[in-house]
Symmetry: C2
Subunit: 384 residues, 2 copies
């Protein structure tokens, strides 16, 4: 019998059985009324998840493709763009904007640091004007969740557009597109939205849409206006991944049935439980020991041990997938994702497995406390 | 009980139950060995289907996105490109290349005509030099299948690169990438490859890859070199639609189990059967009454009746989806796709339904002959 598999990475995330079942339904024609009904509902649900009345454009691509749509729809060659970077994904958006000929200014932090609104205000004063500011909400590579509301306020004051990478945060931690006046919010199907990878979303404010009409970078597949026009009739300009859309519809239904607040609260408690367990094991946290770090928990490896050793033992011996670090942090930290369809027993399993594998590697680790501590903390009661 | 549904469009096409079952399996992590094994096999199978030893790059996007990758990886602004167009998709590639600032020359035919190698030779002489020639193999909007081998020979003689849209043809009719010296072949998961939409492929010859190093159009998500490098390690630069890749693996396995020749022969017989049935009904064919028209069969509507009436009655009353025309042919023709997972009884059903619905609309149509005639023709024996 094949070994059981456990997916505790920061994405793709586990997909509920109801969603998998929907995924396996016969393929619908993308221009027929059966699909149109689903598509209309998905688009409405996506607006609800974004807390926006703006259009949420749906693309068949990864989150990176959707983020690229923000660059090509908002920029002209040579446009000045400020990127706030404190990890792998911040770096990716810098590289991407440069690939498109933008003049990229950087507000750069050591990986794992939390971007500060004051730093952003100073930077913007120093370099004004810029057309857009790229912000990462949840930096999946470090576990840090930025205060997008405060950062966006500074961006708006400087008259720029706030473009937010919410790929791993949307549906896990609060994001209020309209209330926080975010201009572009990019997300993906495979994180807190609990669907398989392959779909990505771009919520576009009226100001961003207006701005895009003047942006001269060439685009076709990722063109916002073409997609917006089609979606106004609950249609897509190109054949979408219909099976994934049907699955996403079911997943969004599950998410919204309980309400977003319920998901936010659960993620806070999952984060608390995970951090408590890791500390009980005697490990040092890398991600902030704070409730806002509710998406991915990262811990430092014990001195003399490498994260890729740990992930390999977990995977090859125990069927459990967690993530090592990315880039310069590759072997220094490991990451447990608790995004989307996770409960306290998943956390207990992940922690028990890490404890077991570290023991097997001969790393110094406190045994027998982590899972119990995590479950205690989880059930201690709702966070305020 | 919900009405049964029948999908007889030129894409998405019906997906075999084995493939749907694979689609609903728990999501794999895209960087783990479980997925890598599948991915390696999919890439090998795709090379087999393309009859090439070159790399087949896999993108999470629609066929249009993959075709766009050919433009952005092969062109610099102002590059001269010749597009051969005889239908909706030919027009799309012209519009796309223009959107990217290419100087597009056109070899344009009335929709439904078959591009001629002689015309192409003359056109190329007239306008030489061009960097690339865009060719549509199966023009899904008209049912015409071009002689790509002969066209590519002319392109090569002119020292240009042959870029082939094989979205609806690959796996249905012969395509020999290496033998015919095609430089770029673009296809999609949702046609003869019998998987759901959401994945698209770009097979790239060494010459095209070399050319792409000098092309200056900006690209990131669709960048060939980034994708090629990752695929060399059976990895993807960005999170791919893992569920669709797992499904595509099963579908390609089914296709190659019997062998491509078997699929080609079946498509020829399906085309023969469909044409024979439509003629038995007294309808006039729009697509060529020839074996090469083995992908989509198009027929003219009886005088005074509109194709959208027919498709609506079929869909709303009978649960059957066929396609009307596209663009200027919208109401003049209807199209029955027989791509991928189709057999003779599907053709009989499609024909019987068309016959019934035309009768209901009051159109003059011969009753009781089409399905029988189609089954007779299908079983008459293997084509040479």
């Amino acid at each position: 019998m094949p070994q059981k598999r456990y997916l505790f990475t920061p994405g793709p995330t586990p997909v509920p059985p109801q969603v998998l079942t929907a995924l396996g339904e016969p393929v619908l024609h993308h221009r027929g009324p059966d699909f149109r009904t689903v598509f209309e509902r998905v688009l409405a649900r996506l607006r609800e998840v974004h807390r926006t009345s703006s259009d949420v454009l749906l693309f068949t691509c990864s989150g990176t493709g959707a983020f690229e749509s923000a660059i090509v729809n908002l920029c002209s060659p040579g446009d000045r763009v400020l990127a706030v970077s404190a990890g792998h994904f911040g770096e990716r958006w810098i590289a991407m904007a440069r690939a498109y000929g933008c003049a990229v200014e950087e507000l750069r932090y050591t990986w794992g640091e939390t971007p500060s609104p004051d730093d952003l205000a100073r930077k913007l004063e120093e370099i004004e004007p810029v057309a857009l500011v790229l912000i990462v909400h949840s930096e999946t590579s470090t576990g840090d969740v930025a205060d997008v509301q405060a950062l966006a306020r500074i961006v708006k004051r400087a008259g720029a557009l706030a473009v937010v990478d919410a790929v791993s945060s949307l549906g896990a931690v609060p994001l209020e597109m309209d209330e926080w006046e975010l201009d572009v919010v990019v997300s993906g199907s495979q994180k807190a939205l609990m669907a398989p990878p392959g779909l990505a979303t771009v919520a576009v404010s009226p100001a961003a849409l207006e701005h895009s009409a003047r942006a001269s970078l060439p685009r076709y597949y990722l063109d916002w206006e073409r997609t917006r026009k089609a979606q106004a009739k609950f249609d897509s300009p190109f054949t979408p991944a219909v099976s994934l859309v049907v699955a996403l519809d079911v997943a969004l239904g599950l998410l919204l049935e309980d309400g977003l607040e319920c998901a936010f609260e659960r993620h806070i408690r999952l984060g608390r439980a995970c951090r408590a367990g890791l500390k009980a094991m005697g490990l040092e946290l890398f991600s902030p020991d704070e409730d806002r770090s509710a998406v991915v928990t990262a811990a430092r490896m014990p001195e003399g041990f490498e994260a890729t050793q740990l992930t390999r033992v977990l995977r090859d011996r125990h069927g459990i997938t967690i993530a090592s670090g990315q880039g310069e942090l590759k072997d220094q930290i490991f990451r447990i994702g608790h995004i989307g369809w996770f409960d306290e027993f998943d956390i207990a399993t992940a922690l028990s497995a890490v404890e077991l594998a570290l023991g097997e590697l001969g790393a110094p680790v406190e045994r027998g406390l982590a899972a119990t501590r995590a479950l205690e903390v989880y059930t201690e009661g709702a966070p305020v």
